[in-house]
């Protein structure tokens, strides 16, 4: 599948190699839920760098802290201690509004269940974040239409999420995440709710589209086959990074996802 950026996206970058300068950098991340005797340490001193256009899978069993890590990296959750920097700028020093604007302009999100607005059509779900950022409806629609067509959803632009299959809805979520030309795409179990064949197809779409547009991908999964689609994998246990694996050039693949 060719993921050359849509024609209406003149600034789209070609497939970019991993850059040595990290776009996202985390140091000494600790996140504790609760207090006193009920306190649970979800993150316990995590250090992590994510390079531009790189792909990283975060693996581990349930409750190991992988989703908390994704939320802290994306500025959704504040760490109890430690820092996250995007292009050198510490997220913790930004107010909620600045962090919200940052998520809108720099990050894209793909959740397990899509989290599409059920009342909006596919194309409206994709243009919403762009319109929130000030892009006109006409311009946002042109971009969104091109993205949906590229992701195999031509003719389905005006369907609502309930009128799409799970795989189609997840492709809309991918289009929504990428339409804003984010620096980093965060995906939380993006194929977790799909059957194997559909999951494989959606995963290929997500990884290829991120690579083609130069976006870094941070993907949480508990499935080693899904993680194999990324260049790097970190395995978490009890809030820490237990080990890291970097695949040799060309060894990653989505052929047997899930």
């Amino acid at each position: 599948m060719n993921f050359a950026p849509p024609a209406s996206h003149p600034s789209a970058a070609p497939s970019a190699p991993a850059h040595p300068t990290p776009i996202l950098s985390a140091r000494g991340l600790v996140r504790t839920y609760g207090s006193d005797q009920t306190a649970t340490r979800a993150l316990d001193g995590v250090d992590l760098d994510i390079a531009r256009a790189d792909s990283l899978a975060v693996m581990g069993p349930s409750g190991c802290g992988k989703t908390t890590l994704l939320h802290v990296l994306a500025g959704i959750l504040a760490p109890t201690s430690g820092t996250v920097r995007l292009d050198g700028e510490a997220l913790a020093e930004l107010g909620d509004r600045r962090r919200t604007l940052l998520r809108r302009s720099e990050f894209g999100f793909v959740f397990q269940d899509g989290q599409l607005l059920p009342e909006l059509t596919a194309v409206e779900n994709v243009i919403l974040p762009r319109m929130l950022g000030g892009t006109s409806r006409r311009a946002a629609t042109a971009e969104a239409t091109a993205w949906l067509d590229r992701l195999g959803l031509a003719g389905m632009h005006h369907r609502r999420p309930t009128q799409l299959s799970g795989g189609q809805a997840q492709r809309v979520a991918v289009a929504r995440a990428l339409a804003g030309r984010p620096s980093v795409v965060f995906a939380d179990e993006p194929t977790g709710a799909l059957d194997q064949e559909t999951g494989q197809s959606v995963l290929a779409t997500l990884v290829d589209a991120c690579a083609e547009t130069g976006a870094s991908l941070v993907m949480v999964t508990h499935d080693a086959k899904v993680a194999a689609a990324c260049r790097r994998t970190v395995a978490m246990r009890d809030g820490r990074i237990a080990r890291e694996y970097v695949r040799p050039e060309g060894a990653q693949g989505t052929g047997d996802a899930r």
């Binding site: 607005l117 909006l120 319109m131 929130l132 409806r137 609502r160 309930t162």
Partner: protein, 453 residues
């Protein structure tokens, strides 16, 4: 079935204070208002001479007309109070959907789950109904201080007979159970969750036709009804049919309202230049009935305000007129304001409850939108857009309905420009009420959007 019912209290354990309290508040308000309105109407009926004698002077000469006015007020208010009860039942059911799916998962059949759901709603209606009766008993003594221009009512006058109270509560419970049962027909309760009918919503044009037929029927009746029925039972038949027609026309606003909301929302969604309007309009187009329910109370209050402003122009306020005229003016003014006040309370409860419920329903989506970069202010603006469209439509419909009815019944009584000013003040009050209802739920939007769990 017995085993399932026995385990239902465990499965339907309360989820959160606010989600549980909202339907109970609505049931309580509906019961209290219905009891107070019926008690008031009965108090006027109690003043009718028992021997059927017709008085031509003094207070007794006014009572038949005031009884008629009380009946009109009851016809106008009680359907809205009952409607609030129905809305509360649907709200209660919506709050329980995940619990119902859990019961399916542990082996309950769709029928058993439906029965448990209806019983759950009925239990909340019972609690709300009992609280409503207490509320009615508490507010009744202060109402004796109202000056209707006639001999003051006592608390005993304004209370219903004792047997009416259990009947009122039972009626509320049955209404709630019935509404819940009807709501369940569009829902598939599966072990993996609750699926609403996902067909694209389409409002039938029949709604518009029904309302148009009601309007035409009313206009024709007002032209020829007097000649046909005026002589029957001293005109009481004509008067009775007219009251039924007025009630039907006012109730018809709730039939045509969702159709208009749907049509305008579809147009707005397709062309909305801002994300707030696009999201708000799409939500309305997807569920125009809920969108309309959120403002139906306000629509109704505006219709009442329209009636009142027009009526006020024909009631003599000149001190030189006869004693009976002054009594009548006082009765109409107090009764009208009381009716408007009750309608405003209904509107406030209805709008506040439905607005808060919608925010609770949208909690996961609000959080996802905030994560994806929507500011809390933008989420607020989408909610305001969602409510503004129906409010604008309701203002137009209410004004049209009030003018139509008043001009048909009273002729050109509403020609006084000051009446228009008073009406505009009422419209501004309705908008203030909507803004207040939206603001009441605003802290919830922020809390859900920024929730860390």
């Amino acid at each position: 079935m017995n085993a399932l019912l026995a385990s239902a209290p465990l499965l339907l354990r309360r989820r959160g204070a606010l989600a549980d309290v909202l339907p109970v508040i609505a049931f309580a308000a509906a019961t209290a208002i219905t009891g107070t309105v019926l008690g008031g109407a009965a108090a006027f009926v109690g003043r009718l001479p028992s021997d059927g004698e017709v008085a031509f002077e003094g207070e007794a000469s006014l009572i038949p007309f005031l009884v008629s006015c009380a009946m009109v007020a009851s016809v106008l208010l009680i359907p809205s109070a009952v409607g609030l009860g129905g809305s509360a039942a649907r709200l209660s059911l919506a709050r329980r959907e995940q619990d119902l799916a859990s019961i399916r998962l542990v082996g309950g059949t769709a029928g058993q789950v439906g029965a448990v759901a209806v019983l759950d709603v009925a239990a909340q209606a019972l609690l709300g109904g009992l609280l409503g009766v207490v509320l009615h008993l508490v507010v009744t003594p202060p109402l004796t201080a109202l000056d209707f221009g006639i001999a003051p009512f006592t608390t005993a006058d304004l209370l219903m007979p004792w047997w009416a109270y259990p009947l009122l509560v039972i009626s509320m419970v049955l209404l709630a159970a019935g509404s819940a049962a009807v709501s369940l027909t569009g829902v598939v309760l599966s072990p993996l969750g609750v699926a609403r009918d996902s067909r694209t919503v389409r409002m039938s044009v029949v709604r518009l036709v029904i309302w148009a037929v009601l309007i035409l029927g009313f206009l024709v009746f007002m032209q020829v009804g007097g000649a046909i029925f005026g002589g029957v039972a001293d005109g009481m038949l004509f008067f009775g049919i007219m009251i039924v027609f007025i009630g039907a026309v006012v109730a018809g606003v709730n039939v045509v309202g969702p159709f208009l909301v749907w049509g305008v929302a579809l147009l707005a969604a397709r062309t909305a230049p801002t994300p707030a309007l696009m999201v708000g309009a799409r939500r309305l187009a997807a569920d125009p009935k809920s969108g309309w329910r959120a403002v139906s109370g306000i629509t109704f209050a505006l219709v009442i305000a329209g009636f009142l402003t027009a009526l006020a122009t024909i009631v003599p306020a000149d001190g030189a007129r006869a004693v009976e005229d002054r009594m009548m003016a006082t009765a109409m003014s107090t009764g009208g304001l009381l009716t408007l006040g009750i309608a405003a309370v209904l509107a406030a409860v209805s709008t506040g409850v439905t607005q808060t419920a919608r925010v609770i329903d949208q909690a996961p989506v609000l959080r996802a939108q905030h994560i994806a970069g929507a500011e809390v202010g933008q989420l607020h603006r989408a909610r305001i857009a969602e409510i503004t469209l129906p409010v604008l439509l309701s203002s137009v419909l209410a004004t049209f309905t009030a003018l139509l009815v008043v001009l048909s019944v009273l002729g050109s009584g509403a020609a006084d420009p000051s009446a228009a000013v008073r009406y505009l003040v009422s419209v501004a009050g309705a908008y203030a009420l909507v803004i207040l209802a939206v603001l009441v739920a605003s802290p919830l939007v922020r809390r859900y959007a920024m929730r860390t769990a």
